[in-house]
Amino acid sequence: MAEPASDPADAARDGAPEVPEIDLPSDTFDAVLDALAERDPGDPLRFEGFSVARADEGDGESAPDEYVLADGDRPSRLSERELHEALDERAPAVTDWYAFERVVGEFGPRRAFLRWLEDADGATVATRYAALAEGVERAWGELRITATVTDRGERRYDVRHADDAGVSVDELDSYDDPLDARELVTFDEKGRYRPLKTAPTLAGGWVFPDLGPRDAYETVETIYPATVANWHREREGELDVTHWRETMERQSGIYGVIKTWDRGEGHEHVNWVAEACCDDSQCLKRREWQYDDETDLDVDGGDGVFPCREPCSVVVSAARKWTRLESEQPRTYEFELTPSEKEQVEEIIDAVADGRIDEIREADTKEGANRYRTRFLRAKLFDDEGNLGGVPTDPDEEDGDDADEDDADEDDEE
């Protein structure tokens, strides 16, 4: 506390941030001793830039409390007390070992993710600690994750919505249990249920200000389930992509019908599905699945940091509906519309498809999808049965109600 904070401007002039002062915590030193105790004498524990082993007396027996530190080309023999001093001088490298080997652990996705948060390019401990001292920021979907390091070399993480970047923790709802994130992801800002966790509709206003490594991983895993595991597999070159055809062939029950939508007449229908559901405006996963392993879709898969490896349950459910709807044959209907009315219909479709309805102001009658404009169109063009232009949907029936089909859909959700 007594020492003046280093002037960030100095670091900026040097072009490199400073490595923070780290005190070697006793539990970290004990962990090193434990790790050495599990090794044979002479078998070194490696840290960045140096290694430590228990001293070997030459006969395979260890010398109690004697250690050998190899730093460069001249090994030195140390007592336990001297080892503590030596490791304290090298506290960044030792606490870095402790953070990943003893706190983060081996589990591949967690380890790779936490490493990536602070080190996308294989940087040295010094470079990473200097960056962590200032805070390393990463984006993950709509999340902003800031990694820092304490003066004991422990990693701490601040996880929040990217829209809340820079907002004081005091102004946000603060959490520390990763499982609390389940509540935060259930509804969007307008209180609507979010069936797809990777939809870009995550509400903000909250923060996990001070998480340890494992809890940081769990929080991200709760907000965007399995995204880290899939990202990790992709980085390892092992992402198992299941394309549209294979996914739909696998479906059974009420979804078994979807495979009949693929009629060997091209994949334009799947382009439409992907454009409807998988665009970055609808889902933050980067679509890696295609029509089949030989036929790519023609629409953009998005730029998300984590991949989408197969059509999700939302796509499958919607595809079932489209399979039924797209089995209908087109008919020719005759309506009379003014040119502005035709354009208004197009504007209404655009507004719904782009989720802009709530942005259109009540009195803004320049907008085709304005409510008054739309009510006027309905008043003018619909007959008492709700038929556009008084034209029945089915020429043989007065009413094209499909209530029975809607009932059948309930099988889908119980």
Binding site: L179, P225, A229, D240, S252, G253, E410, E413
Partner: protein
């Protein structure tokens, strides 16, 4: 490292569908019996297809939070989890007796213990009784009361009715309630005519469903006559044709369900320590006031 994976249906439409799954997962987590507890869903995330890749442990128990053996437990879940060599004969079940099958999940190349559904476990009988205690607020409820256990009929799944009858019979054998009946939504005896099947003035109605949703919140209350329209809500109890009906809502929301999840894992070989006793104790209905 011992891991529990609870798999459930979930919903694209109903935000409350996953709540019992999360609640029971939390209860199990609090016992400390497992190094990790994960949840996976058919309609939510992580999906069945991807949940195993989020699991760290090498001793994995998968427990389906479903009420009966059938389409989901026999086809969908094993297929989506990619259980290599799965065949329903692995369970060697009569429709009620599935316990577990140990198979390699191709997704993670690790063996998993795939357990039978919670709904057919003998411990589920206790959850139904506990549900009756919860809804009446009486830990000794029974005398002067009838109990109706309600489910889908055989129209949708032949094993659905088996599970209902199994638990109704077991509760009847205990001589705790004056009468116990199994009723159905889409076959005789139908829940619509509940008062006709009971002589008791008070009847607890427990639907064998995992989560509250369309069937338990709209269908059954309207069919039974608790309300004209579900949006009006209803009282507990509500008198219908001279019978006071204590409608319990989905049994799957009862905290003791966590016990059945643990029983399933224990039957499959999980080492649970004192977790079973702990859960039975922490989920009890409070006595007195």
């Amino acid at each position: 490292m011992q891991s529990l994976v609870i798999v459930a249906h979930g919903s694209h439409l109903n935000p409350g569908s996953s709540a019992p799954t999360y609640d029971h997962a939390d209860t199990v987590r609090a016992t400390g019996a497992f190094d990790e507890v994960r949840t996976g869903f058919w309609k939510e995330e992580p999906h069945f297809r991807e949940v195993l890749r989020t699991v760290e442990g090498d001793e994995i128990y998968v427990v389906p939070l479903f009420v009966s053996e059938g389409y989901f437990t026999e086809q969908v879940i094993p297929r989506e989890l990619r259980l290599d060599g799965w065949d329903v004969s692995e369970w060697d079940s009569d429709g009620l007796s599935a316990d577990q099958a140990a198979l390699v999940a191709e997704d993670v190349d690790r063996e998993v213990h795939y357990c039978g559904p919670v709904g057919t476990h003998r411990a589920m009988t206790d959850v139904i009784v506990r549900r009756a205690e919860s809804v009446t607020g009486d830990p000794d409820v029974g005398e002067g009361f009838g109990l109706a256990v309600v489910g889908h009929g055989t129209e949708r799944n032949e094993n659905s009715a088996k599970a209902i009858e199994y638990h109704a019979d077991r509760i009847a054998e205990r001589d705790r309630f004056d009468e116990v009946k199994a009723l159905y939504m889409d076959e005789e005896p139908e829940v619509d005519d509940l008062p006709e099947f009971f002589e008791s003035d008070d009847v607890v109605l427990v639907p064998l469903f995992i989560a509250d949703g369309y069937h338990t919140q709209e269908d059954i209350p309207e069919d039974v006559g608790l309300c004209e329209d579900h949006t009006e809500g209803y009282d507990v109890p509500t008198e219908v044709d001279g019978t006071r009906i204590w409608y319990a809502g989905a049994v799957g929301t009862e905290p003791l369900m966590a016990d059945v999840i643990l029983e399933r894992a224990a039957d499959a070989g999980a080492d649970l320590g004192t977790a079973l006793d702990d859960v039975r104790e922490t989920t009890r209905v409070a006595t007195g006031d």
